[in-house]
């Protein structure tokens, strides 16, 4: 495994306005992710964690304003490092109060122009994304095959229609779709959920990106199909040597595919490290949320003696009224008297708990451990 950086996101802050919640949602609160070439990063989180928004806003796919307000995102392409947030500071003016952002001035139009210009060369050719709800990703009025062919012609140097069509067949076969030549002519509504998802994977990979982002690729699919999609992604990432980012709330999917895992909660990455350590029971220095989350997954091994599943009391904090200290404070059962005061006052920074494993918790800072 190489340790070449592929996509580096640092200290990302994203806001968007939610009319239903009548306020600005601080979706990403200083998110940093290091995605290395050839590695699979699994991003796990529940609703409101900001896992999808992190990738969407980095790719410039977030439609609602204001979007990214600070941070950096560097993509290391074949031709060198490109910043995906060009001159962010010159487009945004922030006003801080008590360490919190209270006012944002952002020139959306020219920012979007700039990011689109950059993404034009990168999107599909180097970074591709697949989404939940595969049928919605396709144009309902065009055959699936034609859409793949068009993507090939747009993003690779194949300009011949016939050649592109052959390539489309190749990719449909590669994603294990039966009778690819027949399926080419199918419309999206004529395909089952699982098949449509495979077709979306084909379309994403046909332009030969080096980084694939999969946002909830198995949600909404039947159990047996989910399993097959996960197997497919595993095979493809091995054979094509892809860098894979899997975003999911389903821990079993994450565990089957990831080398490294980032656990997100309420807009922060709260743990980032090797998959075995995070998922394995033996590692002691895990974030309380991670531990509780893994403990509440339905499985026979988690059931307590009284026949119940351990759950995390309370709910995810309000996305608009973000609390002051650690965002997990209200629901945390691992607080010790030594750290409790700090937990309620200040959101913890990352502490190194093992080689390549960081955890955002006051329990693991050197001072707390010696207390």
């Amino acid at each position: 495994m190489s340790s070449n950086p592929h996509l580096i996101i640092k200290d990302l802050h994203t806001y968007f306005h939610s009319p239903s919640r009548q306020g600005f949602v601080h979706a990403c609160n200083g998110v940093s992710l290091d995605i290395m070439r050839g590695e699979t990063l699994g991003i796990v989180g529940e609703s409101g964690s900001g896992k999808s928004i992190t990738m969407l806003s980095s790719m410039g796919l977030l439609n609602v304003g204001p979007g990214v307000v600070s941070g950096s995102c560097e993509f290391h392409s074949r031709n060198g490092a490109i910043s995906l947030f060009p001159d962010l500071n010159s487009h945004v003016q922030l006003t801080h109060e008590n360490g919190q952002i209270v006012q944002v001035k952002k020139d959306l139009q020219s920012w979007q122009k700039k990011t689109r210009h950059i993404m034009r060369d990168i999107w599909s050719k180097e970074i591709a994304m697949i989404f939940q709800n595969p049928r919605q990703a396709f144009n309902p009025f065009q055959t699936v095959g034609d859409q793949i062919r068009e993507s090939i012609m747009l993003h690779t140097n194949i300009t011949n229609k016939k050649e592109a069509k052959e390539k489309a067949y190749y990719w449909l076969e590669k994603v294990k779709i039966d009778s690819p030549k027949l399926r080419y002519e199918n419309y999206p509504y004529g395909m089952s959920g699982g098949m449509c998802q495979r077709a979306m994977v084909a379309m994403a990979l046909a332009s030969q990106p080096s980084l694939l982002i999969a946002d909830e690729p198995t949600t909404g699919l039947d159990a047996t199909i989910q399993s097959k999609i996960v197997d497919l992604l595993f095979e493809l990432k091995e054979s094509l040597q892809l860098t894979l980012v899997i975003i999911s709330h389903d821990i079993s999917v994450i565990s089957r595919l990831s080398d490294k895992i980032a656990v997100m909660y309420a807009g922060n990455v709260i743990e980032h490290g090797k998959a075995d350590e995070i998922l394995g029971e033996s590692f002691s220095k895990r974030h309380p949320y991670t531990r509780s989350l893994l403990g509440s997954v339905p499985s026979r091994s988690n059931v307590t003696r009284t026949g119940r599943l351990p759950s995390i009391r309370g709910e995810v904090p309000d996305a608009v009224n973000t609390p002051q200290g650690c965002r997990f404070y209200d629901r945390c059962d691992a607080k010790t008297p030594a750290v409790e005061a700090r937990c309620s006052q200040k959101n913890p920074n990352f502490s190194q708990v093992a080689a390549e494993h960081q955890c955002r918790c006051w329990l693991y800072t050197p001072e707390a451990e010696h207390a």
Binding site: Y15, H17, P19, S20, Q22, G23, F24, G65, P66, Q93, I101, V102, Q103, V104, K105, K106, D107, L108, Q109, V320, N321
Partner: protein
Amino acid sequence: MKTKYLHKPLSQTNAKSRSFFKKASTRDLLYIGYGSLVVLLVLLSYLAGAFSWLPHDPDEMNLDLMMADPFVAGHLLGTDFMGRDLFSRLVLGIQAYFIPGLMAIVIALSLGTFLGVLAGYEGGKVDRAATYINNLLDSIPRMVLILLVVALFKPDVYYIMFVVGVTAAPVVALQIKNKIIYLKQKNFIESAIAIGLPKPTIIFKHILWHNCRSILIIQASLCMAEAILIETSLSYLGFGVQEPIPSWGNMVQAGANYLMQGHLWPSTAPALAILFTILGFYLLADGLNKVLEEKQ
């Protein structure tokens, strides 16, 4: 630079009312405000006319003050070709369409709701029958039928408004039917049945009162606009309200003869009244539609 502010979040206390105003754009609020003003004025004017709280007797003819200009001898808008106070006649003109208009509304809403509920809720054969009747009503050319009624019977505003009501019902029915179909997809009608709620409760309380209220108000507003338009047009043509009873339509007609002589107000005042009143009802409907009905 486009500015976005992130203040400390709003309190949750008046969540419901706050959401109303947050959703509405300034333009929508303007429409609703103007429309509401018009409705209020119409209502007040109706009452004024009904109780004769008018500055002058609208039938009193002042023969030496014919075609007077505004502000002459206490006549706010002047007098018409018979010396009658224009302003009072204008106010009284509302009588011509107000109650008849309400009648049209009642007919349109009740018939429309009845057909809409049958079509949307019951489904199957009942749906087909109701939709058939609905389409039948919808295909009737309204003006032709009105003129037919006028020719066969008499130019009575109430007869006319009956036709207006019946021909306006299909639109209401369709809106209600679609709303019910939409609600059915959201499962809560099924769950209402499952919990054991009796059918009338489901239909009247849950569907109509809570979810169709806004449709009905909007349609009522539109229906009134239509009623005014039709009544004034027919009165203008001579088929509706006849002299000496004032209607904005026949006032425009009567005053038109004197335009060439430079007497603007007898014709223009009622014309403007028609314009701004109908506009008020349409804008009210539009604004309410945007705020209450548009899916976000």
